[in-house]
């Protein structure tokens, strides 16, 4: 009886989440990671349901989405999936901004920063592959961009030939629904574990204090998630997502989702090579950031340089999004 009781005591309890965390864990900026995680949970649930109705073939993909869209719940589900993905992209940019402004990549949090970069890249590929598997005009043009850009890489011709052909949608679907979720968990688990291990990054220029609990932080995350994803529900019902006509080769009539519009603008000026060079430069810049700005504290000159550089890049990106958003689509491909 005593042994059984002591085993029960060793088991996990909800009260175990009551460990102390700094008070600023309740601030919106420090809840963003949790809100994004809630969003990923919603994407997994809606994605799993939609996968039951999806035909991952060149001939059947768009048709199966069309069939799903005939049902109000089907169209709403698809709209919610897409709008949640859009919301996550926006929240990830906010999360990244908060980390850069507070210099949370410095010191012992350097390794976690690298896992975060991995998660950022995975999320972008998630968004991209989700656009492709619809296999409408937008998806097809995105796929063609990927193929032609891949062919520019060393040995890219061989990889592109693997992506071509009738199995294209199936391979993108497997990437979107199996490979990427697995990779997400591979990067997410150490990301979360390291937050627990290192503790929440401190507020700049303030002494560390433990005055609230992790369970309070979770409640706050849920509290922020309700209005945010409630708004996503409203947007899904007010502006249901579109499905472009069946893909036609030889024309470029769509523009990519807003998050890729700065790349699209660069492609206008530099050609397809911009799709390879720009992401590589961004990822390298993010990787070397903790080495360049290693001094703790937001008052150091290097940190100010980092913050101002980030703000200028953000302003240019917003300007490019607006510019490309109001100009007609441009032809880039040789298809």
């Amino acid at each position: 009886m005593n042994v059984e009781k002591s085993n029960q005591e060793k088991g996990w309890k909800l009260k175990d989440l009551d460990y102390p965390v700094p008070k600023h864990a309740l601030e919106f900026g420090y809840c963003l990671g949790g809100i994004i995680l809630v969003g990923f949970g919603l994407l997994i649930i809606t994605g799993l349901i939609m996968a039951l109705f999806f035909t991952p073939t060149v001939a059947g993909a768009r048709l199966s989405i069309l069939t799903l869209s005939e049902n109000p719940f089907g169209l709403l589900l698809r709209s919610f999936h897409r709008w949640t993905a859009e919301a996550i992209m926006f929240l990830i940019i906010l999360h990244l901004s908060r980390i850069i402004f507070t210099g949370s990549y410095q010191g012992k949090r350097k390794v976690n920063w690298f896992f975060g970069i991995g998660l950022l890249v995975i999320t972008f590929v998630f968004f991209f592959s989700g656009t492709v598997i619809k296999w409408d005009q937008e998806g097809y043009e995105a796929y063609q961009h990927m193929l032609e850009a891949t062919e520019m890489l060393p040995l890219g011709v061989y990889f592109a030939s693997f992506l071509k052909g009738t199995a294209a949608v199936m391979r993108m679907f497997v990437t979107h629904s199996l490979i990427l979720p697995l990779l997400l968990f591979v990067f997410l688990l150490p990301h979360l574990a390291l937050v627990k291990l290192n503790g929440l990054s401190p507020l700049p220029n303030t002494a560390p204090s433990n005055s609230t609990t992790f369970s309070q932080h979770l409640k706050k995350v849920l509290g922020f998630s309700v209005p945010i994803y409630g708004l996503v529900v409203f947007l899904s019902a007010q502006f249901p997502v579109v499905l472009y006509p069946g893909p036609y080769s030889g024309v470029e009539m769509t523009k990519p989702p807003w998050i890729f519009l700065p790349l699209y603008a660069l492609e206008d000026k530099l050609g397809l090579i911009a799709l390879i060079i720009a992401p590589i430069i961004i990822v390298i810049a993010l990787i070397i950031l903790p080495y360049f700005d290693s001094k703790a504290g937001e008052n150091s000159t290097t940190h100010k340089v980092v913050v101002w550089s980030f703000l200028i890049i953000a302003a240019i990106s917003i300007a490019l999004i607006i510019f490309v958003g109001i100009t007609p689509p441009v032809r880039h491909l040789n298809m």
Binding site: L63, S69, I228, G230, V232
Partner: protein, 103 residues
């Protein structure tokens, strides 16, 4: 505890026997599995109908479906739910913060 196990086993036996019964059909004749028959194995008529509806759907404009579905009551209800969650959630967060500030 024995009662619990007994109930679970009885429920499982009843469930599986019903499933077994529904699959018992001696009138079936073997048919070759083809691209069209794999869509539905119930009858050839359904396959023909599905082919026709597929052709129609390919020709049908998505925007027409979207506008029709968008005006359904489901969308109106979810718009209301979404707005209620967004405004209610924001108010809840704001009020809690204000109350904490008052303390």
């Amino acid at each position: 505890m024995k009662k619990f196990y007994f109930t679970v086993i009885l429920a499982a036996v009843l469930l599986f026997s019903v499933m077994g019964y529904s699959h018992e059909n001696h009138n079936k004749t073997p048919r070759k599995v083809t691209n069209s028959s794999i869509i539905s194995t119930r009858s050839d008529t359904i396959n023909i109908n599905q082919k026709t509806s597929e052709q129609i759907k390919t020709e049908q404009d998505f925007e027409t479906i979207r506008q029709e579905v968008k005006s359904s009551s489901v969308f109106i209800v979810f718009k209301a739910i979404g707005l209620a969650l967004a405004i209610g959630g924001l108010a809840f967060v704001y009020l809690r913060r204000r109350n904490k500030g008052d303390e």
